[in-house]
């Protein structure tokens, strides 16, 4: 039923197999999701391959674009984490570009939004959470546990503060992944619903069309903003791991 209705807003999130691949009883088929992951990878690669094809002191547009994105993330990392964050720059940069292109490719009609699936965003968030925790303990030893008891808090508040801090720490991957996924899911669903209204209303459809255009602009903003938020939160968590005292 869901697959038959063209105006079903959830239809766009369905995953369909393109090539059936089974590995040791596990289904790792190449699906539309995988295809758009490849598209995001290809788009990023295209941007940088074209942008870096002829390095010049005075950059052309594509080089400018690649350098702007590089500087944007490099500055973000330097502001949030400082020079110690340099080692994690390839990951942060890849993370931003991947989410950015997944979000943007998903805005094109009839495409699939990789980041609208919780498992994908949760994979990133979980990886970041585990990595940040490991980095925290490696860099600070048991001193990393200080993040659960911020300095300057009276000792009698500790039984209250410490559990709250632990819960907030553990909920970081959930909030991080749900934020991105829910934004994509909700935005794309609303776009689809209003697109359906245009069809249903016939010539009166211009009203939802106007709304759709505005909404689409908003969704474009959100696509970039959510990639930014995901990346900057990763930087903030990384900073917490490197400097638990602050």
């Amino acid at each position: 039923m869901a697959a038959d209705n063209p105006i079903d807003p959830i239809h766009q999130f369905e995953i369909s197999k393109i090539a059936d691949i089974q590995l040791g009883g596990i289904d790792i088929s190449f699906t539309n999701s995988s295809l758009f992951m490849v598209f995001a990878l290809a788009a990023t690669m295209a941007l940088f391959v074209i942008g870096l094809s002829k390095k010049s002191i005075i950059p052309n547009r594509m080089q400018m674009l690649s350098e702007l994105s590089y500087n944007f993330i490099a500055n973000m990392l330097r502001d949030q984490v400082g020079d110690q964050g340099r080692a994690y720059f390839p990951f942060i940069f890849s993370l931003f570009m991947f989410i950015f292109f997944c979000n943007f490719i998903g805005l094109i009609p009839y495409t699939f939004t990789v980041t609208s699936h919780l498992i994908v965003t949760f994979a990133f968030a979980g990886l970041i959470f585990i990595a940040v925790t490991i980095i925290g303990f490696v860099k600070n030893g048991l001193g990393y546990l200080r993040i659960f008891y911020p300095s300057g808090i009276p000792i009698f508040l500790a039984p209250l503060i410490v559990p709250i801090e632990i819960i907030s720490y553990l909920s970081k991957p959930i909030s991080l992944s749900v934020r991105l996924c829910a934004n994509m899911l909700a935005g794309h669903s609303i776009l689809k619903i209003f697109a359906g209204f245009i069809v249903m209303l016939g010539f009166l459809g211009f009203a939802p069309l106007v709304f759709l255009v505005v909404l689409y602009a908003l969704e474009t903003l959100i696509a970039a903003l959510q990639a930014y938020i995901f990346t900057i939160l990763t930087c903030i968590y990384l900073n917490d791991a490197l400097h638990p005292d602050h």
């Binding site: 869901a2 995953i15 790792i28 699906t31 390095k55 950059p59 994979a123």
Partner: protein, 183 residues
């Protein structure tokens, strides 16, 4: 990419959908656990490739380009600074030379003025002296002439008196007597 997309769109209707596979579960496709291994597997592959690409290709090259540009800009700024200081030095030197030249010329002007005035002064003095001496000489000459004339007049008067008197009387008065009367 357009071709790929077209291919995908063509194959999409015949693709078979996970959710439709088992039950007609109308839940969110996001909750379909059966798709998770595939999504995770391809996510790991694509993101690893992207990470490698970024780490090994993009960041070194972009970093080098940006570094190069920064070096070039700072070099250019340095060059400009050096040239600027050089120009300032030259301007300073020029100003100094101008100042010393004008001072020199001023000195020359005052010196020559002074020399001229001195010369004028001496000339004036010389002239004055000359004039004064001429005046006093002439005065002396005039005086002498006067004296001489006086004596001559007196002598002439004397002679005349003598002549007149001798015409009327025999007794010719002596010169002293006449002189006495004349005075």
């Amino acid at each position: 990419m357009k071709i790929l997309l077209k291919a995908f769109l063509l194959t999409a209707p015949i693709n078979f959908v996970y959710a439709a596979e088992g039950q007609k579960s109308a839940g969110l496709p996001q909750m379909d656990i059966a798709t998770f291994p595939s999504q995770l597997f391809w996510l790991v592959i694509t993101f690893s490739l992207l990470y490698l690409f970024m780490w090994k290709f993009v960041i070194p090259r972009l970093g080098a380009t940006i570094e190069e540009r920064r070096d070039k800009i700072s070099n250019d700024i340095n060059d400009a600074d050096n040239l600027n200081t050089e120009a300032t030095d030259i301007l300073k030197k020029y100003d100094e030379q101008m100042a010393s030249a004008s001072q020199e010329s001023n000195e020359i002007i005052t010196n020559s003025k002074k020399a001229m005035l001195d010369h004028l002064e001496t000339l004036k003095k010389e002239n004055e002296e000359k004039v004064n001496s001429l005046i006093s000489e002439s005065q002396a000459k005039i005086k002498a002439q006067e004296e001489k004339s006086k004596i001559e007049i007196r002598n002439a008067t004397l002679d005349t008196v003598k002549a007149i008197v001798s015409r009327y009387i025999e007794n010719i008065p002596s010169d002293e007597e006449i002189n006495k009367k004349l005075n």
